[in-house]
């Protein structure tokens, strides 16, 4: 990747507060036109990272480059970065037009150019009909577009969004996601999106960077992160319902490695060879097969709880001492009934219980 195409680069960025490291040696690069999500739980350092990129905080060490230029010493307003806050923060007393023009006015852009830019962006974001409405009167979709327009009109090199949808009704978030993504694709805007919600990250991103305790655990496409997590945390953080993790043991039988769990034994494992010993087996709820009658390779479990999601049910069943989740069609079974479960070992991961890294998964990687 040619260096000039990188809109954002973080090199060895480090930040501590009162002796505790909030961000540890972060290396990240964002290509032009890319939508990258910075995903992690509260306190993982994503907000601190965002503050350093915008310039509100200075890193203790490391460099931040925007469009090839080191910006560590450059004031926030000179970095050509646009920031959209949580809740969008549209000025409720100003009209939509006044909101859009705001950033340009503070930069001292001439009136003719301002009007041209506003006309262009309101066309692209379909805001022409509501230019005269006040910020406080808008619905959420309009508010999102106005907040975006206000920032995009200044043609930033990089657009940063700080959990903008986290306080919104769940129903709204789905439609706003589509709209945001369409706008980003059309305008080919480079976006860094900070969130704790893995659905948002999976849905909109070209790549996801998973962060925990100040460090990047994994950076990759949504498909990479979902199907090939590097460790337990990433595996459990991405995917709803969360991945199942049960203890298992790898042994040798007739010259091949087999996996045994509380309820299954002699499971073939087509992954890389690993030392014999105790591990954790991670399998997604979608990769467990449930049947009402026993079949070859199934083990009997009891259904403890049924979660009704309308289009599908998630059954929580006993598996030895643990509970695992399996996805079925609606009405498949009820609480208290017994079920016969088999594991799709092609989709399973072996995790080292000590360092929690995924040590092996099926060797055969299916094409995307």
């Amino acid at each position: 990747m040619a260096e000039e195409e990188m809109k954002l680069e973080l090199r060895g960025v480090h930040k501590s507060f009162d002796g505790a490291a909030a961000v540890k040696g972060l290396d990240l690069a964002l290509r032009k036109g890319e939508f990258l999500s910075l995903l992690g739980p509260s306190g993982c350092g994503k907000s601190t990272t965002l503050a350093m990129i915008t310039g509100f905080l200075a890193p203790d060490s490391g460099e931040i480059l925007v469009d090839g230029r080191v910006v560590n010493r450059i004031a926030p307003r000179k970095r050509r970065i646009g920031l959209v806050f949580q809740d969008y923060a549209v000025f409720s007393r100003l009209t939509v037009r006044a909101n859009l023009v705001f950033g340009l006015e503070s930069q001292g852009v001439a009136r003719k150019e301002r009007n041209l830019a506003v006309a262009e962006i309101s066309e692209k974001l379909e805001l022409r009909d509501i230019l005269g409405a006040r910020g406080g009167e808008l619905n959420m979709s309009e508010m999102q577009r106005v907040a975006l327009g206000r920032v995009l009109v200044t043609k930033p090199q990089l657009l940063l969004l700080d959990e903008p949808m986290s306080n919104l009704d769940a129903a709204l978030r789905a439609s706003l996601r589509s709209e945001l993504k369409q706008i980003q694709k059309e305008l080919e805007q480079t976006v860094l999106y900070v969130t704790h919600d893995q659905v948002e990250a999976l849905s909109m991103s070209d790549r996801i960077a998973v962060m925990r305790d100040g460090a990047l655990l994994q950076v990759g496409t949504p498909e990479d992160i979902y199907n090939r997590p590097v460790g337990r945390f990433v595996a459990q953080f991405i995917g709803d319902p969360p991945i199942n993790i049960v203890p298992c043991r790898v042994e040798e039988a007739q010259g091949k490695l087999v996996v045994g769990t509380a309820l299954h034994s002699g499971l073939g494992f087509a992954g890389r060879d690993v030392p014999i010993g105790d591990y954790l087996l991670a399998v997604r709820p979608h990769h467990l097969r449930a049947s009402r009658a026993p079949r070859e390779g199934t083990a009997e479990c009891e259904i403890r709880m049924v979660e009704n999601f309308g289009a599908e049910h998630v059954l929580h069943v006993t598996y030895g001492e643990d509970l695992v989740a399996v996805v079925t069609e609606p009405g498949f079974a009820r609480e208290g009934e017994r079920l016969h479960l088999s594991l799709d070992m092609d989709q399973a991961h072996l995790i080292d219980p000590l360092d929690e890294r995924v040590v092996a998964r099926r060797r055969r990687e299916a094409a995307a």
Binding site: A170, A174, L202, E307, N308
Partner: protein, 363 residues
């Protein structure tokens, strides 16, 4: 045995009518969810049942007693507020012990109960600290601990998971359901997240602008929504609503629109069969929409995929169809892999027909 019954409950704040003549009841031990968008009146409803607001009209009955005029402390209910409201000067332990101390429970019994709760909610390490040192999730658990400390007839939780990280929410969903099993208390649970409501409750009440649009089991609300509002609110992604025309009378009823025309079954089972207008709308669940790369008997209509949301276990296709946008849910390994033209199919039933004026489903 009915634990809670609310009759024609109304409450206004100045010009704003928060509750407009609400009726519902919940049986003993039931997990009853009230869902709705922000400002639908959910918090007001809980506070009125608890006695913190005086209703303008209607009655509230708890375990058969009329408590409409009773003070909160005489109603034997427990309420967890949306903004948590832990007492900032009291430790975690004292916060949880508060309801027990106020009614004069002995210190020995209090210590035992607090220990039990700390065990279940895994908050033992928070007992001797002050709320300002807790994280969001920890505050939530301690607040829940306080709400369940003293077993009451009715437990009410106002958006207890809303402010938490998505991952913690998912984990706590299961814990809640298990906790409810064990407590056996009648529970009214308020949320704006219909996934929570669907997965945990015995019955759901959909509240919109102070009125109930529908009360029913999760299956009822999902498969037989009463109105377009309910259909759009429940389900992830929500039900698609498409404009169409009905033709052919009772002999050969057909549903048509831009780019599709298809027979529709089940008209004779509708009460209002004879009064169906020509122009109406119909609801189409995303998982009921069939999508294929090529034309076929099951997928006779042309459409276009404009975006694919890959969510790991399933994918959501944004489709241009019938001069609008609809969403379809397909498994991850579905044949349609990229944007572009595709072919769609569906099997409409009369119970999915919607009256465009009233926005109600024809029944």
């Amino acid at each position: 045995m009915t634990e809670v019954a609310v009759e024609s409950l109304s409450k206004s704040f100045g010009d704003l009518q928060a509750l407009r003549g609400l009726d519902f009841d919940a049986a003993h031990g039931e997990f009853f969810c009230v869902i709705g968008p922000t400002n639908a009146g959910k918090s007001t409803l809980l506070k009125t049942i608890a006695g913190l607001h005086r209703p303008d009209g209607g009655r509230i009955l708890l375990s058969g007693r009329d408590v409409t005029r009773a003070e909160p402390r005489h109603r034997n209910v427990s309420l967890l507020f949306q903004n948590i409201a832990l007492f900032p000067t009291l430790s975690g332990r004292d916060n949880i012990a508060f309801p027990l101390r106020t009614v004069g429970t002995g210190e020995g019994e209090i210590a035992r109960r607090v220990g039990e709760i700390a065990e279940v909610l895994k908050i033992g390490h928070l007992l001797d600290r002050l709320p300002q040192t807790f994280s969001g999730g920890e505050q939530q658990r301690v607040a829940i601990g306080r709400a369940i400390a003293r077993p009451t007839d009715l437990l009410m939780l106002d958006e207890p998971l809303t402010n938490l990280d998505a991952r913690i929410r998912i984990a706590l969903r299961i814990e809640f359901k298990t906790l409810h099993h064990e407590l056996g208390q009648t529970l009214i649970y308020v949320t704006h997240d219909q996934v929570e409501a669907m997965s945990m409750s015995d019955r759901i009440a959909v509240l919109n602008k102070g009125r109930f649009e529908q009360i029913g089991t999760p299956d009822e609300v999902y498969h037989r929504p009463a109105s377009a509002f309910v259909a759009r609110f429940i389900g992830q992604p929500p039900m698609n609503i498409v404009d169409a025309e009905l033709s052919g009378g009772m002999d050969d009823p057909r549903l048509s629109g831009p780019g599709f025309s298809i027979p529709i079954g089940g008209i004779e089972q509708l009460e209002s069969a004879s009064r169906l207008p020509r122009k109406l709308a119909f609801g189409l669940r995303p998982e009921a929409l069939r999508v294929a790369p090529g034309e076929g008997p099951d997928t006779p209509f042309a459409g276009e995929v404009v975006w694919i949301e890959r969510l790991g276990g399933k994918s959501i296709l944004d489709l241009r169809f019938a001069q609008g946008l609809v969403k379809a849910v397909v498994p991850t390994d579905h044949a349609v892999r990229r944007e572009g033209p595709v072919w769609l199919g569906f099997t409409p039933r009369a119970e999915h027909l919607i009256d465009k004026e009233s926005e109600l489903f024809f029944r």
